[in-house]
């Protein structure tokens, strides 16, 4: 008799789970767990079943002030630590993440709904790597010296901004936190972080792991509603920079708060990324074709809740039928279900609201004449998951003027169309308000380069997609936001330039 091994992790709090669970979670301020001044908590839901599994602080503006007090108390000492000392802290954070990778992966999957095979293989290792990257980058960073003339020199130093406010999205609760925290801390800043309302808890599990490594007050986490504490943080006179990932109206709001306070901001506001497949991808039935098919199906990665989701596939008309057939086979093989099951390939959407929005977009697509090639419904899953927010991987065939080609759905919904030549592919690719990501698939290197340079987007993946290394700049053209994340250039974005202009000439200028 064979023993059937379960491929699923037990839910957090269960005896076999790697994740310990308390009933209630406070804010992380000044290195301590501080109850919200409001005394209020909100139930936190797992999208896998729709059930509340813990309570998290529902803070007020006063809690943001407490976090800012702690951050300001810590900023001088942290900002004056040597790059080597700051790097040592970031490296220790990375090591702690690695040591707790399974626990963090399960926690994040349970809260967000992304399959645990993604968090184990991507989110958590990448989060650790971003801390390591910026630890290395800050040690290798150096200022510049300009020789004005042989007796006058401009010495340029990067100095910390002080205390920054960072608002992270729900789609990669830990990786997006790492993207924001690592460069800010490396550059010598302290931060007050507001997690997304649907995912307030997994970042607190991270704080449990790294809270004793980062000096008190350098990292502070406050949970609550955007309308209350998001605004209190972003509009606060005591932050020196604000960083935000989310939708366009709040992006404008963040930039207007920054303008009112005369501070810099970084906004990342989403996209409608084209993924372009030229006819030569089918020139051979080989590993590259297999990779290209996967490249199309990556729209279902993280259930499509990715700012750079390759949500518009543009396929050369001569290969459309055959290529799409291969892709639809691959999509039909996607296993949907419990995000804690290692075999699950797509889990639930993060919230009921997101699920409702995705359903309404599929209806809009149908109403405007798009053809549903696969999916389009909520799946029938077993009783335990019946209350979860699942949606089938879906493909809609239509044309680029349709609304489902123009607006970000933030779900596993691909809009597909054809093009006749390179010029038309480029025209369709750029016919969008957004410009965050794009993909180009071809065996012709010259064409890949031409297309990559001509597409109006901040990141053009060429013969790949959805790779997010720390050493590659990420950010939007057009309405996809202002500023960049990742890459060592972030050390400049999280610092200000001090110029010491020094004269070694003993003689006066002669004016007076």
């Amino acid at each position: 008799m064979s023993v059937i091994q379960s491929t699923a992790y037990d839910a957090p709090g269960a005896s076999g789970s790697p994740v310990a669970l308390r009933e209630r979670y406070d804010n992380f301020i000044g290195g301590e767990w501080i109850p919200p001044t409001t005394g209020e908590y909100r139930g936190n839901v797992t999208p896998s079943t729709g059930e509340v599994f813990c309570e998290v602080a529902h803070s007020g503006a006063q809690d943001i002030e407490l976090a800012l007090d702690a951050a300001h108390a810590a900023k001088e000492e942290w900002g004056q630590r040597s790059p080597a000392e700051r790097a040592a802290v970031l490296n220790a954070v990375a090591d702690a993440i690695d040591e707790n990778a399974e626990m963090l992966a399960v926690a994040e999957s349970y809260e967000n709904g992304k399959p645990v095979r993604e968090t184990l293989a991507a989110d958590i290792p990448l989060a650790a790597d971003h801390f390591r990257y910026f630890a290395g980058a800050v040690r290798a960073d150096e200022g510049r010296i300009s020789e004005i003339d042989d007796q006058t020199y401009a010495y340029h130093f990067q100095e910390p901004l002080g205390v920054v406010g960072q608002i992270i999205p729900f789609n990669f609760p830990l990786l997006m936190a790492a993207w924001k925290i690592a460069p800010a801390l490396a550059a010598g800043n302290c931060t007050v972080l507001k997690p997304a309302s649907p995912t307030p808890w997994s970042i607190l599990k991270l704080a449990e792991v790294i809270g004793g490594i980062v000096p008190p007050g350098v990292l502070n986490i406050v949970n609550g509603s955007g309308a209350e504490i998001g605004k209190a943080l972003a509009s606060n006179k005591r932050i020196a920079k604000v960083s935000f990932t989310g939708e366009t109206v709040t992006g404008r709001l963040i930039m207007s708060y920054a303008a009112q306070n005369l501070i810099p901001s970084t906004t990342e506001l989403g996209g409608k990324s084209p993924n372009i497949f030229f006819e030569d991808v089918m020139a051979a039935d080989d590993a590259f074709l297999d990779k290209a098919i996967e490249g199309l199906v990556l729209y279902a990665f993280n259930k499509g809740e990715v700012c750079t989701c390759p949500s518009r596939a543009l396929i050369h008309e001569s290969i459309y039928d055959e290529f799409m057939e291969r892709c639809l086979e691959r999509i039909a093989a996607i296993k949907q279900g419990d995000p804690l099951d290692r075999e699950t390939m797509i889990g639930p959407q993060v919230s009921a609201a997101q699920l409702e929005k995705i359903e309404s977009y599929v209806k809009i697509g149908r109403d405007e004449g798009a053809e549903v090639l696969i999916g389009g419904e909520r799946p029938g899953l077993n009783e335990r998951l019946a209350g979860g927010y699942y949606f089938e991987p879906t493909v809609l065939k239509g044309h680029n003027k349709m609304r489902v080609f123009q607006e970000e759905i933030f779900g596993p919904v691909l809009a597909v169309t054809t093009f006749k030549d390179e010029a038309e592919a480029l025209e369709i690719a750029n016919d969008t308000l957004y410009g965050l990501g794009a993909g180009v698939w071809t065996r012709d290197g010259s064409r890949a380069f031409r297309m990559g340079r001509a597409i109006k987007a901040g990141r053009v993946w060429t013969n790949c997609f959805h790779q997010y290394p720390a050493h590659a700049a990420f950010g939007g053209y057009k309405s996809s936001g202002v500023g960049r994340e990742n890459h060592r250039m972030m050390l400049e974005h999280y610092s200000q330039t001090k110029c010491l202009l020094v004269s070694y000439d003993p003689n006066p200028m002669g004016f007076f």
């Binding site: 997304a196 989310g246 109206v249 700012c307 970000e408």
Partner: protein
């Protein structure tokens, strides 16, 4: 502010709200004072109508005022309006707190934009 001449002009009654949404707007107005709506786009909770205190985000020269709901003006970016095919909007309210900065999140609900 008036939209620029090139922007698509809304037809009459380009935006309306369900009775439940209007009731929520009145409740928010009592709590926070006059309100303004902006139709959002982009990632995360993009596509949501964002309800703000009037003046929190000044309407810009490229925002089109589609009409008023519950006494509050409703704006959309003119490019976004055109790319969405200049639809009519019906604003509704559903349970579950808004995920972003929209005020109704404080009441544990979220507005949605339907385009019937």
């Amino acid at each position: 502010m008036d939209p620029p001449a090139h922007a698509a002009q809304p037809t009459e009654a380009a935006v309306a709200a369900t009775p439940a949404a209007i009731e929520m707007i009145h409740r928010l107005e009592t709590a926070h004072g006059p309100l303004t709506f902006f139709q959002s786009g982009g990632c995360c909770d993009g596509t949501s109508p964002i309800c703000l205190k009037a003046g929190e985000l000044p309407a810009g020269p490229h925002d089109v005022r589609l009409g008023d709901i519950g006494g509050a003006p409703f704006y959309i970016d003119s490019d976004q309006y055109e790319r969405w095919g200049t639809p009519r909007f019906l604003i509704d309210v559903l349970s579950g707190a808004a995920e972003g900065f929209s005020l109704e999140g404080l009441e544990g609900v979220h507005f949605v934009s339907r385009t019937p």
